[in-house]
């Protein structure tokens, strides 16, 4: 099938889902069927595209020209492909989970919920496959707007206030910083199309101006949540847990860091950044965010808030790796988008299951929860270990590559950041597990029998699936690496360092 058509389909399927869902407003089972069918159909289309890209294809086309020089254009390259696969795969798991959660908690206004969700996924796909900065910006903003109703879903005063923080911070950063950065790029480089090797090399901007521009981009992409523009993320935790899981652990925040990597590779170009050191400032800021957000996470008693700060910290891994801007660090950055997505969605699924089954939200309430919900807490343990970066879980690969990439770029401080952060990860994640498994539930003695109360079946299925993915992707790293090596031309002498590379494992 024509690859351009596949891209259109990938955008059209969730959009059509969003249009059809309201029609089934009165028939919840039909409505949920529409969500699931669109999710599966989208995955099929994206997988077909993946086959094309792995075969060396780079489907690219211009849908329409908005203003001369300003196209609505799509171009599928390996990085965007990876992001598209992540979003569409996890959408299925999340849809199943959402159905269990929304019904289990008798949430109001479920129809608009599913509609906004579908639009958010469509725009995520748009971000992934955007061929230039304008198209990227377009879908980035649609993503912000379509997720605002999801954050404000509860409709109480708290939800309204936090949703306000959410929309204002994301829109303010994108309008005040990102848009001027894009127009500046357009004026300076004469184009805003993503191109291998970047487009700013010949634009004649000095190293100082490039630093300013890079900083505008990274902080303008508020979804990447580099401190101090991270406030929206904890605020967004007021949303129902499936929203936190998919959007604020996967689609939205990953769209943010994805944009950072994309701008780094296809707008600036690694060579230009290596010459000018324009991204060093951001590397330090991101490194600082990694540590600081982890420290804040340590002090959060609310489980979702703790996970939110953990997300802030983990996102900055990606930004830091992108800003180090060596080929291997970029591979690490891209891999971490994947690794963190599957790990963190597992953790959020667990948090939502605990809320649904036991109505608990605070870490201090979780004594003995592992005995009531062993399956959920086992999945939580797997997700936590993957975040920490222990084999045989997927999280280990990204830290590996980011570390090697940092050494390669003479930025050894970043390795120290990784190590400190890993220790902090252990400190804020594992006590939750040990408390859950080793402390007796409130009101019982150590030896008492505890009744098992797992979350509804759809939720348990989803959480099992993502936890399994953490393991499977550890083993399947080779295929992913093939895809990622296509983003950057990896120097031959370093290829041996790649697990699964020629000198390794054969």
């Amino acid at each position: 099938m024509n690859a351009g058509l596949l891209v259109i389909l990938a955008l059209a399927i969730p959009t059509a889902g969003a249009a059809l869902i309201p029609l089934a407003h009165r028939f919840p089972n039909l409505r949920e069927t529409i969500t699931l069918v669109t999710a599966v159909a989208l995955l099929f289309v994206v997988m077909a595209l993946l086959g094309d890209v792995l075969g060396g294809g780079h489907p690219a086309f211009v849908l329409t020209t908005v203003v001369p020089g300003l196209d609505l254009a799509f171009a599928v390259e390996p990085l965007g492909m990876l992001f598209g696969v992540i979003a569409s795969t996890l959408w299925i798991a999340n849809s199943v989970y959402s159905i269990g959660y929304m019904r289990g908690n008798n949430e109001p206004r479920q129809t608009p919920f599913y509609v906004c969700f579908a639009i958010a996924i469509a725009s995520t796909i748009g971000v992934a496959f955007a061929g230039n900065l304008f198209t990227l910006f377009l879908f980035y903003e649609i993503l912000t707007i379509s997720t605002y109703p999801l954050v404000a879903h509860k409709g109480n005063e708290e939800a309204r206030v936090k949703a306000r923080v959410y929309i204002l911070l994301l829109m303010a950063t994108s309008m005040l910083l990102l848009l001027p950065a894009i127009v500046w790029t357009w004026v300076a480089a004469g184009t805003i199309d993503f191109a291998a090797g970047g487009i700013l090399a010949g634009a004649g901007l000095s190293a100082g101006l490039l630093t300013v521009l890079y900083t505008l981009y990274v902080f303008g992409i508020g979804k990447a949540a580099v401190m101090p523009v991270h406030f929206w993320l904890p605020a967004a935790m007021v949303a129902p847990t499936p929203v936190s899981a998919l959007l604020h652990a996967v689609a939205v925040v990953k769209a943010g860091v994805f944009c950072v990597v994309k701008v780094t590779v296809y707008v600036f170009g690694l060579d230009l950044l290596a010459e000018t050191d324009a991204s060093d400032l951001i590397a330090y800021a991101a490194g600082g965010t990694v540590i600081l957000a982890s420290l804040i996470a340590l002090n959060q008693d609310n489980l979702k808030r703790r996970l939110a700060y953990s997300t802030v910290s983990q996102l900055s891994y990606v930004v830091m790796a992108a800003a180090i801007a060596t080929p291997l660090a970029i591979i690490g950055a891209a891999f971490h988008i994947l690794a963190h997505a599957v790990s963190k969605i597992t953790l959020f699924f667990a948090a939502g299951s605990i809320y649904t089954a036991a109505r608990l939200t605070e870490v201090s309430q979780l004594d003995g929860i592992g005995r009531r919900m062993p399956l959920t807490m086992t999945a939580f343990l797997i997700g936590a270990l993957s975040i920490i970066g222990l084999p045989p879980l997927v999280g280990v690969w990204s830290k590996w590559w980011i570390g090697i990439g940092a050494v390669d770029g003479d930025q050894t401080w970043a390795v120290a950041v990784l190590m400190i952060s890993s220790v902090l990860n252990v400190a804020y994640l594992l006590p939750i597990v040990s408390r859950g498994f080793f402390l007796p539930p409130p009101g019982t003695a150590a030896g008492d029998k505890v009744r098992r109360t797992e979350a509804p079946l759809p939720m348990a299925l989803a959480i099992g699936a993502t936890a399994t993915l953490c393991l499977v992707l550890f083993l399947g790293a080779n295929t992913i690496q093939t895809l990622l090596a296509m983003i950057v031309a990896v120097p031959a002498e370093l290829a041996g360092n790649l697990p699964g590379g020629d000198s390794h494992g054969r």
């Binding site: 329409t64 908005v66 203003v67 300003l70 609505l72 206004r109 304008f134 910006f137 377009l138 903003e141 649609i142 707007i145 109703p149 404000a152 409709g155 939800a159 309204r160 949703a163 306000r164 929309i167 204002l168 829109m171 303010a172 309008m175 005040l176 848009l179 001027p180 127009v183 500046w184 357009w186 004026v187």
Partner: protein, 493 residues
């Protein structure tokens, strides 16, 4: 025969329509007359635009009197574009107008409303098409007088005060304009715009010509509601009948902007207005003041019509900002924003007309949860609101893109920052309303509001769809605006 007389028809059709509407006295028949006239005027405007794009400027001598003695109608890209804008809006909102007017205006006055509506259309197309400075004044008065009447027909008693306030301010503006034109006549002996532009070159160093420019700019600025000459606008928009608000917001100020462009670039010439006089800093300052001041005031309004009215003042700031930049990109941004803002504001005011029809109020605190009660209608408000903010994928973004690019081209990064920062205030005032509409539980009164007539919702959504369409396909908007900007910058021809 008709083809040759298109420029005259553009003005005469609505004029005769107005007379017939006044004579029939029955609201429904007057509406029908207005509809026929409106559609015919629109077809003429389209025909003119097509002709101009194909064959260059058209000159038409009224009554076969040769200019500069006779009055010349002159159509080039820019006024053909404005004519299309005005007549599109006038025609498209008519199906909606019937239902809305039936609710808001008593039967014996409805025919008068349609008469004034057509007279106003006649005045606005007249200002736009004429090539004669004094003739423009005449049409300015025609449109203004009919506007005062339309506003005064509003159901709220404050509409009378608003109309009176506008009458006073509008008359001052028109007087200033005519004083300026008088000074030009003294210096050059002509009223024909093309003639003026050639004869002004010899005398442009005189103080009289500078004074003429000042009078004309201030006079027109009153009509286009340039900050701080905007004080008539919020009340006028807030208390006029819903349809009148839609029509005025989308067209009246835009035509005044056109007249300003015509004088600054075609008559005086950019080199004189922006080179020798200090117009750029003045306009820049006032534009930026409008963008921020009026936006901030808008964020504090409880009456939604007033909120959008202040927002209009702010948006006019973007248009004048583009003019002040006086570069191809900036001018394109300003001109395209004329169109984009017109359709955006029309869409928003159309939705508010529906809200008023259903809920009999447009105060934000009375409308909690209305989005859940009337999801389709209010979704239109959200989408048009996004265009007002300038979110990509909507018409508003195109204008903003050009303005930011124009500022950066000049190296004025601070101006680019100001443009994007001010649009952020729009996020606040639109977002505030969206939050109340959708994320508060519906009150009892809101839950009991009646369903909106389909024709009103359809009209509103047509305009809403246009705000999205012209955010993606800009051949008709930015394409023509760019041509117009180029021809304006070439100066007097």
């Amino acid at each position: 025969m008709i083809g040759e007389n298109l420029p005259a028809l553009q003005v005469i059709l609505p004029l005769f329509g107005a007379i017939i509407a006044a004579l029939v006295r029955r609201g429904d028949i007057a509406w029908l007359v207005t509809l026929v006239t409106g559609v015919a005027t629109l077809m003429v405007a389209f025909a003119l635009l097509v002709k101009v794009l194909a064959g260059g400027p058209i000159s038409y001598e009224i009554g076969d009197w040769v200019p500069p003695i006779g009055i010349e109608y002159r159509v080039d890209v820019i006024n053909a574009y404005v004519l299309v804008l005005v007549s599109v809006i006038a025609a498209v909102i008519l199906p909606y107008a019937r239902t809305s007017i039936a609710l808001e205006i008593r039967e014996e006055r409805r025919a008068w409303f349609y008469t004034m509506y057509l007279l106003c259309l006649c005045g606005l197309t007249g200002i736009t098409i004429t090539g004669d400075a004094f003739n423009a004044f005449v049409f300015l008065e025609v449109s203004s007088l009919s506007t005062y009447t339309m506003i005064a027909l509003g159901r709220d008693r404050r509409a009378l005060i608003a109309a009176y306030q506008y009458l006073i301010m509008g008359t001052i503006g028109a007087t200033f304009y005519v004083i300026g034109v008088g000074l030009l006549l003294v210096m050059t002996g002509t009223l024909n715009l093309v003639d003026l532009s050639t004869r002004l070159v010899e005398v442009e160093s005189t103080r009289t010509v500078s004074a003429a420019l000042a009078f004309i700019v201030v006079g027109i600025s009153l009509k286009l509601a340039l900050f701080p000459l905007h004080v008539w606008l919020p009340n006028a928009y807030a208390y006029a009948p819903s349809v009148a608000t839609v029509f005025l917001a989308a067209t009246a100020t835009k035509v005044a902007v056109y007249l300003l462009l015509r004088f600054l670039f075609s008559v005086f010439g950019a080199h004189f207005a922006f080179g020798q006089l200090v117009l750029t800093p003045m306009l820049l300052l006032l534009s930026v003041a409008a963008m921020f001041g009026a936006s901030i005031v808008a964020a504090f309004q409880n009456n939604l019509k007033r909120m959008l009215a202040y927002s209009s003042v702010a948006q006019i700031g973007y248009v004048t900002l583009g003019i002040a930049l006086a570069t191809a990109t900036g001018l394109t941004g300003g001109i395209v924003h004329l169109f984009n803002h017109a359709i955006t504001k029309a869409a928003l005011f159309l939705v508010l007309g529906i809200v008023f029809y259903c809920a009999a109020t447009v105060r934000v605190e009375d409308l909690a949860g209305l989005g859940r009660r009337l999801p389709v209608t209010m979704a239109g408000f959200v989408v048009a609101g996004l265009s007002l903010i300038g979110v990509p994928g909507t018409a508003g973004f195109i204008s903003k893109w050009y303005l930011v690019a124009a500022a950066l081209e000049k190296g004025w990064w601070w101006l680019a920052v100001l443009v994007v920062a001010s649009s952020l205030i729009a996020v606040i005032y639109v977002g505030r309303v969206v939050e109340v509409l959708w994320f508060r539980a519906p009150t009892e009164t809101v839950a009991a509001v009646r369903d909106p007539p389909t024709v009103m919702v359809a009209t509103a959504w047509l305009m809403v769809a246009a705000t999205v369409y012209f955010g993606i396909d800009t051949n008709l908007t930015a394409g023509v605006a760019s041509l117009a900007a180029d021809s304006l910058l070439q100066g007097p021809q």
